[in-house]
């Protein structure tokens, strides 16, 4: 039977102590990851529009021909009206 004061048992106890330290570190790291919510799946996001600069509407050329002046503004308005449909509008 291994004497617990012997070299071999001391080595076994040292190994276990190292195991406990590793376990404690991993437990601490797990708690941090857990409480910080680092493993939570991201909430789904609605697709947004393209980010960044919104393209500006191109300016219209300022050299458009200006309408000719002197157009008669008293165009005839007495156009004939359409005949009414019997039975009302469809």
């Amino acid at each position: 039977m291994a004497d617990v004061n012997g070299d071999v048992s001391r080595r076994q106890m040292r190994l276990l102590r190292n195991g406990a330290v590793i376990g404690a570190v991993l437990l601490g790291a797990s708690l941090v990851v857990d409480l910080a919510g680092l493993t939570d799946p991201g909430t789904p996001r609605l697709p947004g529009g393209p980010a960044g600069r919104v393209p500006a509407i191109p300016k219209l050329p300022s050299t458009f021909p200006t309408p000719p002046t002197g157009i008669p503004t008293d165009l005839p308005t007495g156009l004939p009206t359409l005949p009414s449909v019997p039975g009302g509008a469809p």
Partner: protein, 482 residues
């Protein structure tokens, strides 16, 4: 305290923890208006059939557990009044233990019975590792019945108890953390994540506690074995293997059902749990925990014993928690850089990330096993010649073969080549019986040391008779050691 008293104390502590969980769940804050008194009675909305059975505890099982506790308490009262001795006391102790803890086994048995095919495909690989554990012990091997009992404890009791505890804890934690405004979907989701994360932590703690209880119970109930690091390590690994078996059935089915949501398939779960998981995961954690308890049993001072057992428990809880949380975090970080579910991910990246966290524990149990085997080799060098000098079951010419595993293997292989398989197997059986006898001699030499059960003369005579019987059965056929 007697062995029976210790065994009952372990069972009472486990049941006490269950009753605490039950009371906490009963007096939890209510999240909804018409909740049942215990959350385990809540039916999952929309879930039915196999998925519902996987995720919730059957009320019939719950009432059976309660009935078992009542019967167990009644039997203990009866034992105090009746005060039986001898065989009756042993029978009463076993019946009491079965009544108290047996009903929890209905939980994994229900899962296995629902999916027998999934359980069957996990049998060959699990049996192979169990065989490795049985044959991998160099000297003073554990009885096969003890190894099988440890496996059964892991598969049935650890799985059942930890699920029963956590089923109640889920409702309790949800009662405290899940009460948020139902209109704030983001807060609701976040609260659910907190609940699940705490549940994972809770599951790791109670699983390791029930595994430790199993190792202690085996050491208390099976008196014919040496208690050392190797014994504890093998027992812990067997319990972890049993737990891994039941978990495999559950997770293969569960992930098979939910693969559309989480990406992992039943096939992937089978691959990871029945290949690399057989020597890592719960097996590795159980081995480290068992080794610590085996070493603690050898120490005389109570304070030092508690420290060693506590160190093993801390290592096991830390490892089990990290295996779930840190591995998931690593996968979470890696998923944007890899083709999730692709061949490289399935065969290399995911197993690597899973093994990364547990690799220190795998290295630890290999080193502990190596150190323990060295102690056993030294013991074999003294006890085998001592037995050869005291009796006729081991001859002087057989001593060098029995103390050197390499020479023993060479003898078996040479016998196989020269005289065939039957002669080699007969030699192997004789040598195994002789080593069991030398193990008994070792216990006798260490009489009075902590963790060493009494080696009775009657047991030695039985072992010697077994060796002589095996030798005579092997006949006068020549073997290399003669």
């Amino acid at each position: 305290m007697t062995a029976g008293g210790r065994a009952l104390l372990i069972a009472r502590l486990l049941i006490g923890l269950y009753l605490v969980e039950l009371l906490l769940n009963l007096f939890r804050p209510r999240v909804l208006r018409h909740e049942p008194s215990l959350t385990i009675f809540t039916r999952l909305p929309g879930a039915s059939g196999s998925l519902s059975r996987l995720l919730s505890l059957s009320p019939a099982v719950f009432w059976t557990v309660l009935a078992g506790i009542v019967v167990g308490v009644a039997l203990q009262v009866l034992a105090v009044r009746w005060n039986p001795d001898g065989r009756r006391a042993t029978v009463l102790l076993r019946v009491t233990l079965v009544a108290l803890l047996g009903p929890f086994a209905l939980i994994p048995l229900g899962v296995i019975a629902t999916y027998p095919a999934t359980a069957l495909v996990s049998v060959p690989s699990t049996a192979l590792v169990l065989l490795l554990l049985h044959n991998g012990q160099r000297f003073a091997r554990l009885p096969l019945s003890m190894l099988l009992a440890a496996f059964g404890w892991g598969a049935l009791i650890v799985f059942g108890l930890s699920r029963a505890y956590s089923g109640l804890a889920l409702g309790t934690i949800n009662g405290y953390l899940g009460k948020v405004s139902s209109t704030d979907a983001s807060a609701l989701l976040k609260a659910q994540y907190r609940v699940m994360n705490l549940l994972v932590l809770h599951l790791a703690v109670v699983t390791e506690l029930t595994m430790a209880a199993g190792v202690l119970l085996m050491l208390v109930l099976f008196r014919r074995c040496v208690t050392d690091v190797v014994t504890g390590l093998v027992l812990g690994a067997a319990i972890g293997l049993g737990l891994n078996f039941s978990e495999s059935v559950l997770f293969i089915r569960l992930y098979g059902s939910l693969s559309a949501f989480n990406g992992a398939t039943g096939g992937f779960e089978y691959w990871i749990r029945q290949s690399i998981g057989l020597l890592g995961g719960q097996v590795a954690i159980g081995a480290v925990l068992g080794a610590a308890l085996g070493l603690a049993a050898q120490v005389r001072q109570r304070r030092q014993r508690t420290l060693i057992a506590g160190a093993g428990l801390l290592a096991a809880i830390g490892g089990a928690t990290a295996m779930e949380i840190l591995s998931a975090w690593f996968s979470h970080l890696a998923e944007s850089h890899i083709d999730v579910g692709g061949t490289l991910d399935t065969l290399v990246i995911s197993p690597f990330l899973w093994l990364l966290v547990q690799s220190p524990f795998i290295a630890l149990y290999v080193l502990l096993l190596r150190a323990g085997c060295r102690v056993r080799a030294a013991a074999a060098r003294t006890s085998v010649p001592a037995e050869a000098a005291a009796g006729h079951a081991i001859t002087d010419r057989e001593v060098p073969f029995l103390v050197d595993p390499a020479l023993r293997l060479w003898a078996v292989v040479s016998t196989w080549r020269r005289y065939g398989r039957g002669a080699a197997l007969a030699l192997n059986r004789v040598q195994a019986a002789q080593l069991d006898l030398a193990g008994w001699r070792w216990r006798r030499q260490c009489a009075g040391s902590p963790g060493v059960p009494v080696a009775e003369e009657k047991e030695g005579e039985e072992l010697r008779a077994k060796v002589i019987r095996l030798k005579s059965r092997a006949g006068a056929g020549p073997v290399v050691t003669r």
